[in-house]
Symmetry: C2
Subunit: 400 residues, 2 copies
């Protein structure tokens, strides 16, 4: 009994909801190996720290001995968006999906034990389902239940069209839980409706209903929007550790607490102790942010990379020691002196002159510690010169 | 041109709507043999005059040389009501459907040339449709369009549940029109939504859209509700002509005009002439009703049966000549005298004593012209005795 409670407390840490907790208790008490479903969209293989919130919870469940199933929603992605409304959702070929998933699982392997994950594709049971069976399946769901989903309800209220096939998707997802006999399904809070739908459909099929675990959505670097690659506010798990560390150091103090909680699962008690230490002045927020960045890199990259990234950061930003700056090779034939705009284009991936102008105007470009304020400046380059672009990016020129 | 207009005027007669009439004109003008879809529910093989409204319009279209397709909705009837809510809709076996349809077509043969009807079953294309194709199909329909159907809209407004599979049915029906490449679909006004859905889906598939022809719904004998076997207000096409004639004579004068219009396609001009003749007293409504009953029996049964039924009716009700009353044989061993209730039970199909009591109380039971008013009366029966039960039913006893 005590063990189970301890287990549940551990599982609860960092979640938004467990629906219902009593059933989770019962399921664990049976002693059966519990099967945890996690739905994966095979269109987006690039993982970032936002995904890490759910994935690290899955890691904990894996460590507790649960069976982790990655459910790849290949059935619908092979159809694409049949309404033709979305240009970004053409149908994926089987090769596309296989490629996306191998990239995806490689990244997942940094958080979970990837040898201990079961991979299932929902085309396995959705492709062969007959229209007759599907009609019977649909009879188990009411229209009211489907259109109460927040985004559907909003679109109905705003008289925006919903294609009928969109209503099928929650049913497919729910049926995946029936097919897998899932005991638990986990996802972000934006998936709550779909996860509950799985629970509901399992009940309709007269089988044990899954417990739903929802995880908070991580805000991106801007502290406002959900972390998302397309919004440019993400830290990708495939990014170099130094770069990720630098991005983490750029977040606001307020967001720092959130990352402590969601990515490192620091509990509320410890969090409030840290907050009062900062408020009282006994801890500098910069020091705490360094700890956050270090521990996140240690957790999702490696301890070695974390130590190295921290060292680099301290050298560049605190000790102004640029020996650790990223080396960038320029050919010997590079014009010298060179227009600052051309130089920045050569060493960064910025291609827009107007963006570089904006950086110069905001004093975000410096050469050997001297801010460049003149857009037309010509720079005489030399080996070992340090060029800073933006808030956290140092380049050491290597000319050969 | 003139010919087509005459054709369209003929088709228009007795319809509620032709959507759109201009397209019907264009379709006829192509000179192609037009394909007319008529959906048939294989659960209810008993036809009545309510069905005759649409069927006689189909006969006219058949006479114009159009191809008439009876589309049997076997796909869904073989599923039954998967929600389990309706006890009256268990799934039908293939044998059930074959049997129902042969009974049905036998009756249809009294109105249409049954050798010139194409029979199609929608399981032909709905059974093999894959989930992938179906998702694509559903993408062509918006949710708003589906739930604007009157009964769905009402149920949503009244917060009555709609099973999700019910939303699939209009899509299936519409897809039938796509599969058949229907040029025209015809049905009662209660089918308007479904017929338009077929038109809409054909457009989505980029094919020629069907013209929708809706026919009025015939009121039953009560003059209030739609004619329906289960409401007991129907005249079945399989009923004896005498009985049908009698039922027609029982309708109200108001309903008589409706039957003239919907079953005999008397046009509005002729109808108003008849109405003014009745109003002016130059025609007795009873005489007109006899003409209605005669012409309906002649049209949907046969001229011979119509003449015979009219003769019987006149003999019984006008000349009080009971020689034409229906003979009913009673065994010689029948108790004599016999309680009136037992007698009525023996000669009619009424089994409820309380119903017989009600008939007696309303003076609807008579023996040889004498009303029976005493529920406990004992009748001394004899050969040739005339027993009247209800308004139109005479029985001549034959004892042997």
């Amino acid at each position: 009994m005590k063990n189970i409670e301890a287990m549940i407390n551990k599982i609860k840490q960092g979640t938004v909801q467990i629906i219902p907790e009593t059933e989770l208790y019962k399921k664990i008490a049976t002693g059966k190996r519990l099967c945890v479903k996690f739905g994966v969209d095979p269109t987006a293989p690039d993982l970032h720290l936002g995904h890490a919130v759910v994935l690290s919870k899955l890691r904990e469940l894996q460590d507790l001995g649960f069976e982790i199933i990655f459910l790849i929603g290949d059935f619908t992605s092979r159809i694409g968006d049949p309404s033709g409304k979305s240009k970004t959702r053409p149908p994926l070929s089987e090769e596309d999906i296989a490629h996306n998933m191998s990239t995806y699982l490689e990244q997942v392997g940094r958080i979970l034990d990837s040898n201990n994950i079961v991979i299932r594709y929902n085309s396995e049971w959705l492709d062969p389902i007959s229209m007759k069976e599907f009609v019977k399946l649909c009879a188990k769901v009411t229209v009211a239940r489907l259109i109460e989903r927040e985004d559907f309800a909003n679109r109905i209220a705003n008289q925006q069209p919903i294609s009928f096939h969109e209503l099928l998707y929650p049913i497919f997802q729910a049926y995946d839980s029936v097919a897998l006999k899932a005991d638990i399904e986990i996802g972000g809070t934006d998936q709550t409706f779909n996860l509950l739908m799985g629970r509901y459909l399992q009940e309709q099929f007269g089988t044990d209903a899954q417990v739903v675990i929802t995880m908070p959505l991580l805000e991106g670097l801007d502290g406002i929007h959900k972390m998302s690659k397309s919004l440019g506010n993400a830290i990708g798990l495939a990014e170099p550790a130094d770069q990720a560390y630098g991005k983490l150091m750029s977040i606001s103090d307020k967001l720092m607490w959130r990352y402590f909680k969601l990515l490192l699962h620091i509990d509320d008690l410890e969090l409030s102790q840290l907050e009062s230490r900062v408020a009282g002045g006994s801890t500098h927020p910069m020091e705490l942010k360094k700890k956050l960045a270090h521990d996140i890199i240690a957790k999702f990259w490696s301890k070695t990379e974390a130590a190295k990234a921290q060292e680099t950061f301290e050298a560049l930003f605190q000790k102004h020691d640029y020996s650790k700056a990223q080396e960038t090779t320029l050919p010997a034939a590079t014009p010298n002196p060179i227009w600052i705009v051309d130089l920045v284009k050569m060493i960064t991936n910025i291609t827009s002159s107007s963006e570089i102008k904006r950086l110069i105007e905001s004093k975000a470009v410096s050469v050997d510690g001297v801010d460049i304020i003149d857009f037309s400046a010509k720079i005489t380059i030399k080996d070992g010169m340090i060029v800073k672009v933006g808030k956290h990016k140092f380049y050491k020129l290597v000319i050969k």
